[in-house]
Symmetry: D2
Subunit: 347 residues, 4 copies
Amino acid sequence: MNFRSDNEADAHPAIIEAVSKAFRAGPVHSYGADPWTQKVEHRLREIFEKPDLCAYPVATGTAANVLAIASCCPAWGAVYCHPASHIAVDEANAPQFFTGGAQLVPIDGPAGKIDRRKLEEALAQPVYGVVHHPQPAVVSVTQASECGAAYAPEEIAAISTAARRHGLKVHVDGARFANALAFVGCSPAELSWKAGVDVLSLGATKNGALGAEIVIFFESAAATEFEFRRKRGGHLFSKMRLLSSQLDAYFSDSLWLDNARHANQMARRLVAGLTPLPGISLLYPVDANEIFVVLPARMHDALQAAGAQYHPWPSDRPGERAFRLVTAFDTQPAEIDRFLAIAKSSV
Amino acid sequence: MNFRSDNEADAHPAIIEAVSKAFRAGPVHSYGADPWTQKVEHRLREIFEKPDLCAYPVATGTAANVLAIASCCPAWGAVYCHPASHIAVDEANAPQFFTGGAQLVPIDGPAGKIDRRKLEEALAQPVYGVVHHPQPAVVSVTQASECGAAYAPEEIAAISTAARRHGLKVHVDGARFANALAFVGCSPAELSWKAGVDVLSLGATKNGALGAEIVIFFESAAATEFEFRRKRGGHLFSKMRLLSSQLDAYFSDSLWLDNARHANQMARRLVAGLTPLPGISLLYPVDANEIFVVLPARMHDALQAAGAQYHPWPSDRPGERAFRLVTAFDTQPAEIDRFLAIAKSSV
Amino acid sequence: MNFRSDNEADAHPAIIEAVSKAFRAGPVHSYGADPWTQKVEHRLREIFEKPDLCAYPVATGTAANVLAIASCCPAWGAVYCHPASHIAVDEANAPQFFTGGAQLVPIDGPAGKIDRRKLEEALAQPVYGVVHHPQPAVVSVTQASECGAAYAPEEIAAISTAARRHGLKVHVDGARFANALAFVGCSPAELSWKAGVDVLSLGATKNGALGAEIVIFFESAAATEFEFRRKRGGHLFSKMRLLSSQLDAYFSDSLWLDNARHANQMARRLVAGLTPLPGISLLYPVDANEIFVVLPARMHDALQAAGAQYHPWPSDRPGERAFRLVTAFDTQPAEIDRFLAIAKSSV
Amino acid sequence: MNFRSDNEADAHPAIIEAVSKAFRAGPVHSYGADPWTQKVEHRLREIFEKPDLCAYPVATGTAANVLAIASCCPAWGAVYCHPASHIAVDEANAPQFFTGGAQLVPIDGPAGKIDRRKLEEALAQPVYGVVHHPQPAVVSVTQASECGAAYAPEEIAAISTAARRHGLKVHVDGARFANALAFVGCSPAELSWKAGVDVLSLGATKNGALGAEIVIFFESAAATEFEFRRKRGGHLFSKMRLLSSQLDAYFSDSLWLDNARHANQMARRLVAGLTPLPGISLLYPVDANEIFVVLPARMHDALQAAGAQYHPWPSDRPGERAFRLVTAFDTQPAEIDRFLAIAKSSV
């Protein structure tokens, strides 16, 4: 009953297998000139219906985010993001480091999602071309958000429209993009470039990989400097097959979506069992694989005693204790059911 | 007959196995709070006979080098290194990026090794505390050097003595430290902290891993900021077991030294077969697993025709063509012998 | 009738005279080893009753702020400041540049002043020592604030107490410190180090100088790296007397306070004349030399027609037009009176 | 008899006068929207016969150099410069700071001047577009060099041709450009853009100003980002007239060239008197206003005893003591003659 984080999970057997095989294949060219890296890019062009996209594997979500953002933001630029976003809260100033000092501007909104109107208001400030002010450059949205909510394609499009009106680029932190996509149910293209996204950090690590993410530029022109940025960030792998063999398996046979769908279903199973119970309330809608929930003290105690693992989460209302529970690609229905049984019996 | 680079090689089966097993072990804490990461640090304390060293896994050699150097160099500092060093030539300004702008000062010497006397001369300049001048902060040596030569413990100690006299720290880029150690034949401690090394980037990727390096601080006090630097560089893995399970296997049962010894032996077997042939000359002594050699045109053509792979290398003498050949942990004696047979038959 | 900004004003004759004289004094040592620079530091030690303070002239307010902040904030640090603060809004990401990427965290409050309770709440987040999160490092307050309000010594002390409880340093952007001091009426020490301020950017440019600011560290230990930071920022003057001769005159014979007092009085004279008029309302208390005021349309038109100059200012209430008027050390009572006469006649 | 440095000299009365007047002119727009700043740019367009050049005042030579270089060098770029150049030796890593980490590559040559053939050799390395290697971006030459030698227009052109062949930009550190120009005797255009220079840091501080330099882009397109870089570096003056009134006087009535010519003549008078004396030898040709000379011990002692001031300079030959003597716009012939009389009498 480990619901601490999807980054504590194992890797999917097919991905482990792919890595094992890749490293027994004999010598291959290094630094990405290997067959897996090429295959991944080609497959992503098909999956996203975008024959000229460029895709670059990196190892961590932070690397993916900050290299992507740095590619479209000058050192005197401003990046608009939710105050709860990973780039603002969980990356130890890596965005500022890689951009050479860009400013993060918090734009609030419910459930970790940027409020389009607040964004428009912020972008309407008369700062453009004025040398004193940080120059609006990028809007970064997290899909699914840090509160487990997914943006619909129309919501992304509305944000993109506001951004583009002022010349900004749109970045998506897609550490859990697969989970959002599985929830929304549209095509990958519809949830990305067709909705105005310029660059996507597409995660695999939290969804069954050992450690791999990929940065996708939907316009290849935007990517010219990326390889230099990746290298000088220390993020270019010599044995690139470590990353690309994972991604090759991940994007084959819909594994990425199957994994995400499973994790989402497990979250819904948990929600379905919990919400009827007294004293339970959800902080945010559960679109993806994260649940933010208020648990009564007795229930929490009973679950802890039984060995259930999950993190506390700040709650606004005094006296109330909230928690985050995360499901993963390999969460077992039986774990959920056992958790629910304990929860019920504590009532 | 692939002698292009040791980073084109497969991974060692024991390391592949360790990774596969680690990712089937069930949920573990993320970001390094897992059993493998702890084990690796403990094992290194034994191997290096230094109970208070601190060790941090990262994924690439560039990351290891620049995070290590940044930990002991202010933005207004100077880093003394060989003009052929990886940090000066092959890291796309990553050292300057991570230090906030340190200057690299080239100190020449034969076979890719810093000439101690030239270093002393450079360090004798009256720049200390003078606000205009970059402040001498770090000497970085590559062990084995980019020309395949190993520093003896006394050579490292002489450099350290010069460095410490002026308050500088000593960093070793040990991408091929195991190969150097296997050649020198002393203890790991004797080739590092006992010779005055402060921080070591210890490589595994080129020596049988899938992609893993580890930064070792021999004085734990020096490491306080390292974890912040690693995180803001995007180099902290959530599923850290990907790195630490590799390193755990690598440092078990002397695998790291066995691999290095084998690669070195294959290099020596190649040298032993080549040097008696007419028209052959070595550019540098072959201490580790890299051979820099002038090949007669007919021999080169014959080898190419037979499918041998290796890189050209700049030669100082006009009309002469030099090449780099690299052996690896999995180079087969039969490959060497076939290579030598072709070489001989071309004479 | 120029009330656009105090940085559009002339310089005070005594300061012009001091510069002229200094540059006819014959050769002096460069880079600050001149008599004026030494004198300024000594005088500040007396003025602030702090014999071990260190003081460094620079040319611009932005340079003073960001060099001061960078001296006490790591690259992974967070700087808490008002969302309207100059460092957040008007320095084109210079704070992030000089710190190597620190994050600015906005803490709101009335009249451009940080709300101590909101600060305490922000500082209570459990982020200390957690490698993912920007590390709280500095609180920066603007004195007088960008809305023309002054912090009382007790207000500064309350902020400092909150900051120090968590190990943060306190920086004051004192571009208009003299105006605040003239308003508050306490001693310079009471409004700075006795209230817990660690480092002060003390302005002269807006208060009668040609272009000079000075960074004051109240604990000399904090200043060790400052000179390197100033030099590598390109902010060390070879002919330092250009800055220090200005500052020498500025801090002599209470000129700095006389200038500030005059500017404040002119602002009060303006306020006293305006507030009785119908349709007038002040956005913020007028403590220093800046007035933020709603003017009726007819009054604004009449003033513009008569050649009065001042900037528009954003107003929250629809239909209302607000403006900023700034007085300076050399604003003439007659200008104020003429302005008021026009205003009155427009009613 | 102060020959320590031209930055220890007074300012020229006409420049002092211009500043004094500018700060009594009444209110003017800040941040460069004042009449002096516009006039300076217009005058430089005439002087350099280039109607579309853009010119930006800054306060220090380091600021001018590093803002100029950063404008044409990516963070992964390489800047080729003489090992004795100010940017390499005397700017505390400011070039690396402002470029985000560019590498300085030393190219040696006699008298502080880059050897064109060595430059060509360095630029011929096959590093272009290869992601591992710092990308050649800028050649920076110092005119006059740090050893007092001037490049002829043909020498600059030869370097520019080599640079442009590989797509690099050419920067001139012209802290003593006026002295070089006075020596060479050609037009400003011939010594700059007609010889292939892209951006020039043109100094005034060492040649009679209080503290002012100006960055000139000969192609306006290159300058688009400059104003953001200047602001975020803290180098935009609110009371810009402090800089531009100096520069206005400096470029009026040939003052800049008159000052330089005088300083050069004083240097030649010194050389003419010294070289016939026994034991005297010059380290470099004396083109501008700096003399590097070996003085016999007795002569040095006699000069010191008489109060002559100048700096020691490293000499290659053991037992020999060399010195640097710098003349300035206000050096008096009588000072030279007194110096020479003492020197002669010591023989």
